[in-house]
Amino acid sequence: MSNALHIVVCAGIVPDPLQTLEPTTGPNGPGIKNEMVLPAVLDPWAASALYEAANLAAKCPGSPQSPSKIWLVSLAPKAKLQQVMMSVAQKVSFELVPVDGPIGGFPDAQATAAVLADAIAAIPGLEHERMLLFGGWESATRGAGVTLELVGERLGIADQFQGVDQIELREDGSFEVLERVEGGKHQVSVCAGAPAVLGWATGNLAEPRNNPQVGMANMRSIMPALQKAKTAALEANGLRYVSVSLPKQQRETRVEKNMSEEEIAREIVEWIGAE
């Protein structure tokens, strides 16, 4: 039996973390001002999932007849996806499954999950019993940590892991997985094998270097996929935003440039001890 894996990575795109974000309200509800023109990146935790997927697929390449494969499923405006893919495509090999839809963290997670699940179910050649559904455990936009779980539930996957930092495949197809739990610890579980959902935290891999050859190979399939991407409308599911605002917390910072180390230390110790 081939040990080929079919890894589906769900990943959104998010504003570059260094950008200033300002909420605004439009006809379709809240959004981020100028979000379509802000520089965007692949969602960081989902990017970890993509790199871990590539690492896993390299360890379990399968056979020439039945190789391991990675699909990257993303719901975002096509134009924005194309921009982000120019850099992401240079990292690892994958096949893009784009869905043309709204950007941002304010659409309902349940609606997003429904669209993603339908897109995954329609992937030609994807075998359910070989499937590992990867993604970030939370996004950098909505940050709800429910979308991947809901996608897995809709696809009938009964083994789910969230906050994953490590997976170790075994010869028999089972795997050991480390999930983040409270108190800075990992819960260690052993799962009988695919299918399973793994919502990744940071993982242990550094970001791969850009490889132009990988990029060119990926782009050959990415561009046609983007052209054929279906448009999805997201249900509101009764979600109503009462208010959306920036936090008002701005501190009056006291900057001490002339205190000696001794004075600073005494002040810090006093501050630590104060109730």
Binding site: P17, D159, E179, R180, H186, A192
Partner: protein, 353 residues
């Protein structure tokens, strides 16, 4: 008419509810009282007796799913347990703690019940209905949401409510213990393909992440950079930091750049891992105070400080991000020297007391 179900689960011992897990009970009681709604508490545990006793006076109705299968925090069994509790009550609103155990399953449970879920709720309010506050874009934008559709599941961030500690709960301990079997409901488990085999702390020696600590101490990349003598002093940095953590009881956080150095083959502090990382791609801990050292205070890191009360920073750069309204006090100084003196003073205080 709303009805409220509070779901909670036992801790690693399999039978007790921790402070964080009791917070949802407080929130549930307040919400049910305001809405005039019926309140039920559902418990998932290996043995529900003690847990039931802890919340005995909190609600008129108590239900539990218990057994060996529920000793493990595992998706298939936990989802089945929560689903069974929900079906037994058919509530319009479900409150649960945002623990790793329930965060793993509650969206799936909501889906099975035909409901909807919102997570990381920091406050519940509203005058005529129910409104929930949560953050978006990694704590950079706050929003208040409501939903027309029911059932509505709300996962409450830990540390946002006081833990339920009703006096009547202790008085009822023995009586409730006898009733543990009566409140149990049966669950049909699916095939269990996953086994939890234990917990693992990172290979760092002492545990440096302490969620209950009053102080968060953040080490930035500057600790591993060249110092005025032109050399790096990683070993000394590590000693200073660990000594401070030991003396102060603080929890250790880090910036992404420092943790990432390990993966890039540079000198690193051996006791740091990604679990210590605070910020955009790390955690957002809740501590009363935070002290940042050798960290620039750029936005991707500082978003992780959203729920830190008082903030101070030690940095050599007088124009670092902390000075731009992100900290209460910024000391422009060498953290090596400052922390050495802080440690000496803490040692003096400890020996004199």
């Amino acid at each position: 008419m709303e009805s409220v179900l509070v779901l909670t689960h036992a801790d690693e011992s399999g039978s007790a509810l921790t402070k964080g897990l009791l917070e949802a009970v407080t929130a549930g009681r307040e919400l049910a009282m305001r809405l005039g709604a019926e309140l039920t508490i559902g418990i998932v545990a290996k043995h529900a007796t003690s847990a039931a006793a802890q919340v005995a006076g909190a609600a008129k109705r108590l239900l539990a799913v218990q057994g060996e299968a529920f000793a493990q925090a595992r998706f298939a069994s936990d989802a089945a347990a929560c689903e069974a509790l929900c079906r037994a009550v058919m509530p319009t609103i479900v409150l649960a703690p945002q623990s790793s155990r329930f965060a793993r399953v509650m969206a799936a449970v909501a889906h099975r019940l035909g409901g909807f879920i919102d997570t990381h709720i920091t406050a519940i309010g509203g005058t005529d209905g129910v409104e929930a506050m949560r953050w978006f874009y990694r704590q950079r934008i706050e929003a208040v949401v409501s939903r027309e559709k029911r059932p509505w599941f709300l996962l409450l961030d830990l540390g946002t409510n006081s833990a339920y500690a009703g006096a009547e709960a202790h008085a009822a301990l023995e009586g409730e213990a006898a009733q543990a079997d009566e409140i149990s409901i049966a669950v049909e488990l699916p095939a269990l393909r996953t086994q939890v085999i234990g917990m693992r702390a990172p290979n760092q020696g002492a545990q440096t992440i302490r969620p209950d600590a009053k102080l968060l101490f953040v080490a930035g990349a500057g600790w591993t950079k060249k110092q005025p003598d032109g050399q790096v002093h990683v070993e000394e940095a590590g000693e200073l930091i660990l000594k401070f953590l030991g003396a102060s009881g603080a929890s250790l956080g880090s910036s992404k750049s420092l943790v990432d150095q390990g993966g890039e083959g540079n000198s690193v502090l051996p006791f740091l891992s990604h679990l210590n990382q605070v910020g955009q791609t790390g955690s957002t801990p809740r501590h009363a105070k935070g002290l940042s050292t050798c960290c620039h205070g750029e936005e991707p890191h500082v978003v992780g400080w959203r729920f830190i009360g008082e903030r101070r920073a030690v940095n050599l750069d007088p124009n670092c991000g902390w000075t731009r309204g992100k900290a209460d006090v910024v000391y422009v100084a060498d953290a090596f020297q400052v922390m050495a003196r802080v440690n000496a003073l803490l040692e003096e205080t400890a020996s004199s007391s």
